[in-house]
Symmetry: C2
Subunit: 303 residues, 2 copies
C-alpha cells in the first residue's frame, strides 16, 4: 500500500503549496483522493499514470478539494481515454462537472459514473475481491466525508515444506487449503489447515479525514488503522477559529489518533498563515508520538 | 504598456507548460486575459497584485482558457476582496461560475459583474478616459473573441519654452492648450496651438488572438497595432489539422501579422506535441521577421 501526497495545504493554491490531493495505490488500484486545482500537474510531477486512475473520491465540494477535477476529466479525454471513471462525492458533484462540460461544449468521450453520496452514516461505497472503501462522515461547514480504505483478509499461504510430507495433496487441492479447509487423507485422517498453511498477511488500512472539526464519532470507524491522515489546519492557539470554520488543530488530530489506537498519523491541510510546520509536529507529537507531516511528493508505504 | 505571459501552451497543463493566461498593464489598469488552470499561482509567481485586477477578459469557454477562473474568484473572496470584478466572456460564463459557487455553497462576497458576449461583429466592450477594449471575432470550434486593447490619444504636451515667450499665458490656460486650442492675445493676435504644444505620445495598442483558424477578417481590426499575440498551435506541416481543430500554424500567424502591418508578433498556444519552439520561430520569421516566442514569465514592454 502506497500513499503519495500531491498537495496538503488548505484554501488558495500557491507556488509551492498545492491544495488537497492524494494518490493511494492499494491492491492494483490507483485511487485519487480529492482533486484541488493543479492536481493533474502534480500527478504528472510525481509520475502517476493517468490511465491507472479509475476511481476518484471527493470528500466535499469546497474548491481546494475539487477545482482540479474538471481539468483532469478534460485531460483524460485529450489523452483519448476510453475506460470508465467512477467519481464518488457529495450530491451535486455530477451537476458540478456536467454543467462545465456542457458550457465548454465538451463531452468526456468515455463513461463517467457518478456515485453521489448523501448518507450521514458510514457506508460501504466500493468493494471488490480485495478492497473495501467506506465513508467516514465528517463535521464540516458543508456535507463532507472522509474515506476508509481497507484491504480484505487475503488467502492463507501454503506451507510447502509441510505439504510436501503428504504426497496425496495435489496442486488442484491448493485453492481449498488457501481457503482454510482441512485435508482428508485416503485413510480418513484429517490434516488440519493450520499445519498446511500459514496466516494471510494482515490486511492494511488507510483512513483519510479532511476537512473536519474535532469529532469523536470518527474514532470507532478508523479504529486501529495502519495510517490515518487527519487534517490539522490550525495550531491549538486557534482552537476557537478551528471550531467556527469546521477545522481541527494538530492537538485535536493527535487526540483522534490516540483514541483510535492507530499506528501512524499524518497531519496536513495547513493554513497558509503558518510559515513553518515544526509547531504542528511538536503539538501533535505531544499527544501522539508517531506523527508525520504531510509534504508534497512525500510517499508513505506500508509493507 | 506591459504584457506578462503567465501561460502560453494549449490543452492540458504540465509542470512547465501552463495554459493560456496573460496580464496586460495599460494606463493604470491591470487586465487579466484568459485564465487557464493554475493562472492564480502564476499570478503569484510573477508578482501580480490580485487587488489590482478589476477586469478579466475570457476569449472562450474551453478549459485551457477558463478552468482557472473559479479558483481565482474564490481566492479573491479568501483575500477579503470588496472591490467589484468585471468578467467579459462568452454567453454562459455567468452560469459557469455561478453554478460552481452555488454547489460549493460559496458566495463571492464582492460584486461580480458579468458582461456576456454574443456578437459576431467587433464591438466596444470597455471604455474609460484613456483606454478602449474591442472584441476581435475569431473562428474557432466554439464562440470565441480575441481582444484589442487601445490607448486613447492623450492630451497635447505643453512646450514650456514657447509658452514662456508669452507672459499673457497663465497656468489656468494650460488645459485649453493641452486640448488643442489656439491662444488669443490681448491685441487680438492668435498663437496657433502647434507653436505652444507638441503632439501627444502615439497611443499604444495590443491585440490578443487565441484560439482561431486562419481568418483574414482579423486583419482590419488589428491593423497597425504595436503588438499582436496570435496563436500558433501547429507548424505548417499540420495545416490540415489546424483547420479541422480551429487553430493556426506559425506561418498563418505571421501572414496575419504581415497583412495587418503590425509592429511585433508574439506567437504561442503551442501544441504539447512539439518539444522545441525553434521551428515555430523560424517558420514565422520566414514571413514576418519581428516575431517573438511567448514564454512563461516573459514580459513585453512598449514604451
Amino acid at each position: 500500500m502506497k500513499l503519495t501526497i500531491l498537495g496538503c495545504h488548505s484554501a488558495t493554491p500557491r507556488v509551492s503549496a498545492h491544495p488537497t490531493s492524494q494518490v493511494l495505490e492499494i491492491k492494483n488500484h490507483t485511487f485519487l483522493i480529492d482533486c484541488g486545482e493543479g492536481a493533474q500537474v502534480q500527478l504528472r510531477k510525481y509520475k502517476v499514470k493517468f490511465s491507472k486512475i479509475k476511481n476518484i473520491f471527493i470528500s466535499h465540494l469546497h474548491g481546494d478539494h475539487v477545482f482540479g477535477l474538471i481539468g483532469l476529466i478534460s485531460t483524460f479525454r485529450l489523452l483519448n481515454r476510453e475506460t470508465e471513471i467512477n467519481v464518488y462525492g457529495p450530491k451535486g458533484i455530477k451537476e458540478f462537472i456536467v454543467t462545465q462540460l456542457r458550457l465548454t461544449e465538451s463531452h468526456a468521450g468515455y463513461p463517467i459514473k457518478f456515485h453521489e453520496l448523501t448518507s450521514k452514516k458510514s457506508e460501504l461505497i466500493f468493494e471488490d475481491k480485495k478492497v473495501e472503501v467506506h465513508t467516514i462522515p465528517l463535521k464540516h461547514r458543508i456535507y463532507t466525508n472522509g474515506f476508509l480504505f481497507k484491504e480484505k483478509l487475503g488467502e492463507r499461504k501454503l506451507n510447502m515444506v509441510a505439504i510436501s510430507k503428504y504426497p496425496e495433496i495435489e496442486v488442484c487441492d491448493y485453492q481449498n487449503l488457501k481457503n482454510g479447509k482441512d485435508f482428508k487423507l485416503q485413510n480418513g485422517e484429517f490434516i488440519t489447515n493450520d499445519i498446511l498453511t500459514t496466516a494471510p498477511t494482515k490486511p492494511k488500512s488507510y483512513a483519510f479525514c479532511s476537512d473536519t472539526s474535532f469529532t469523536e464519532s470518527i474514532v470507532p470507524i478508523v479504529k486501529n488503522v495502519d495510517l490515518l491522515y487527519h487534517e490539522a489546519t490550525f495550531l491549538n492557539d486557534k482552537i476557537d477559529l478551528a471550531k467556527t470554520t469546521g477545522h481541527s488543530t494538530a492537538e485535536q488530530a493527535a487526540t483522534i489518533a490516540k483514541k483510535a489506537n492507530i499506528n501512524q498519523l499524518i497531519i496536513g491541510h495547513y493554513s497558509n498563515r503558518y510559515n513553518s510546520k515544526d509547531a504542528f509536529l511538536a503539538e501533535s507529537e505531544n499527544i501522539f508520538n508517531n506523527t508525520v507531516l504531510a509534504e508534497e511528493g512525500k510517499i508513505f508505504e506500508i509493507s
